[in-house]
């Protein structure tokens, strides 16, 4: 308990969280601080490029082992099944329509890569190491949740066009995934030599860029909340806090079953707990335009993302440490 508090406090006072909080609060105070869209996108390209490459380079030289394969499989299974849990929870807790609930569920099965990056930064500060292949696990967890949710929707709504070939290609080849996985493999191929060539670009400045990026995320999340007032009920907000806890718990069970070490366990919990706000919202707009985007964007970016960043991550670290031991 004491550890949890000290960790939570340390986390809340880290620059990345403080910059997120700064953005969130000045957006609500209606400051005109903002980042050009191109800069926000440029920072997100940088972050994906850097974590992909570093993840791959750290694996280079190791063969493919069983744990890697089991981790990837776990990711796929988690992503494909968590939407069902989310859907049931939503139907019990809230009065959301089945379509809206399924669309929200897709987001919670999928992942938020920035939450993942923030968690790995926090692990680094704690001196807890993790496996480079967790980046690949993150990548596998984007798409399956979408397919599960579209299946849920097609059951309810016969008219729904669902998953055509073009959408499938868009989901599997979406820019974020392609950059993450591509950088991962280039890191894997070029290994330590490659890393030493570009490390001054992707390692040293990484945390500073992350601060700026979270400032922007705070601004966007805060403004989103302001514009969406009324779109989400109190019970939906409750879901936005309970679902990450449920997801993290199930992620922990998977990690225990396949015997992941501490750092990677935390990351699998974080991936399970986090909700997408880039790939999944886009897919939902295309496939399920009837679902209200204000609901899923607000829950994912306005509720669950800040919750994970501030309370969730230190909690998951504490629980995993208690269960597995440091």
């Amino acid at each position: 308990m004491e550890q949890l508090f000290s960790l939570a406090q340390q986390n809340l006072l880290s620059p990345i969280i403080l910059f997120f909080a700064l953005g969130f609060s000045v957006a609500i105070a209606k400051s005109d601080l903002n980042f050009p869209e191109a800069i926000a996108k440029g920072m997100s390209l940088y972050l994906l490029f850097a974590i992909g490459f570093k993840g791959g380079a750290s694996l280079s030289g190791y063969g493919i082992d069983l744990q890697l394969i089991l981790s990837l499989l776990s990711g796929i299974i988690l992503s494909a099944t968590l939407p069902f849990l989310a859907f049931v929870l939503l139907r019990i807790l809230t009065k959301m329509s089945a379509i809206d609930a399924a669309a929200v569920a897709a987001h919670y099965g999928s992942i938020s890569i920035v939450t993942f990056v923030a968690a790995s930064s926090i692990l680094e500060i704690q001196g807890i190491s993790y496996d480079g292949y967790m980046v690949a696990v993150a990548a596998t967890m984007e798409a399956p949740a979408i397919i599960s949710a579209l299946w849920l929707i097609s059951r309810k709504n016969k008219a729904s066009k669902g998953l055509d070939g073009e959408l499938m290609r868009e989901i599997l080849l979406n820019g974020s995934i392609v950059l993450l996985i591509g950088s991962f493999f280039i890191g894997l191929i070029t290994g330590k030599d490659g890393l030493s060539e570009i490390s001054p670009f992707i390692s040293a400045p990484f945390k500073g860029v992350l601060c700026l990026f979270l400032l922007d995320m705070g601004l966007v999340a805060g403004r989103g909340l302001m514009n969406a007032k009324g779109a989400v009920s109190g019970r939906s907000v409750l879901f936005g806090v309970l679902m990450p806890l449920a997801g993290a718990t199930i992620g922990l069970i998977f990690a225990l079953v396949i015997g992941l070490p501490l750092g990677s366990t935390v990351l699998l919990m974080v991936l399970s707990a986090s909700a997408s706000y880039i790939a999944v919202p886009a897919a939902m707009r295309v496939a399920v335009p009837e679902a209200n985007p204000a609901i899923y964007l607000t829950l994912s970016l306005g509720v669950t993302f800040p919750f994970n960043l501030t309370v969730g991550i230190p909690l998951y670290v504490t629980i995993a440490t208690a269960v597995i031991g440091a």
């Binding site: 903002n34 980042f35 050009p36 869209e37 926000a40 996108k41 997100s44 073009e166 922007d216 601004l219 966007v220 403004r223 514009n227 969406a228 779109a231 706000y277 880039i278 919202p281 886009a282 939902m284 707009r285 295309v286 335009p289 009837e290 209200n292 985007p293 204000a294 964007l297 970016l301």
Partner: protein, 103 residues
């Protein structure tokens, strides 16, 4: 300068549907179009802005398409199913163009 009757079709549609829409336009035999960025807006589904956004879910594009009057009906028929399901607005304005053979 001889000018010819034409229609200026302006479609403001979700960015994520932009390519699908322009594919429909091309299938409908339209000879050309231009896409203009939209930086923000407001409608029944609320207020939005592209500032600081990385999500591809929000945001609109304006597709401007000059067509011969006789091609209008087919063009509108082609895009109607998409506009029925997706948020967006269409306006059709009488205009004049220089070289009729281009449209």
């Amino acid at each position: 300068m001889e000018m010819h009757e034409a229609k200026r079709v302006e479609i403001i549609i979700e960015k994520i549907m932009e390519n699908r829409l322009t594919d429909l336009l091309i299938e409908a035999g339209v000879k050309g179009f231009s896409v203009l960025p939209v930086s923000g807006g407001s409608g029944s589904s609320g207020h939005w802005s592209r500032e600081g956004q990385i999500s591809r879910a929000q945001g609109m594009s304006a597709v401007v398409c000059l067509v011969k009057p006789e091609r209008l009906e087919k063009t509108l028929d082609a895009i109607f199913p998409m506009l029925d399901r997706h948020i967006g607005v269409v306006s059709v304005t009488d205009t004049k163009v220089m070289r009729a053979e281009l449209f």
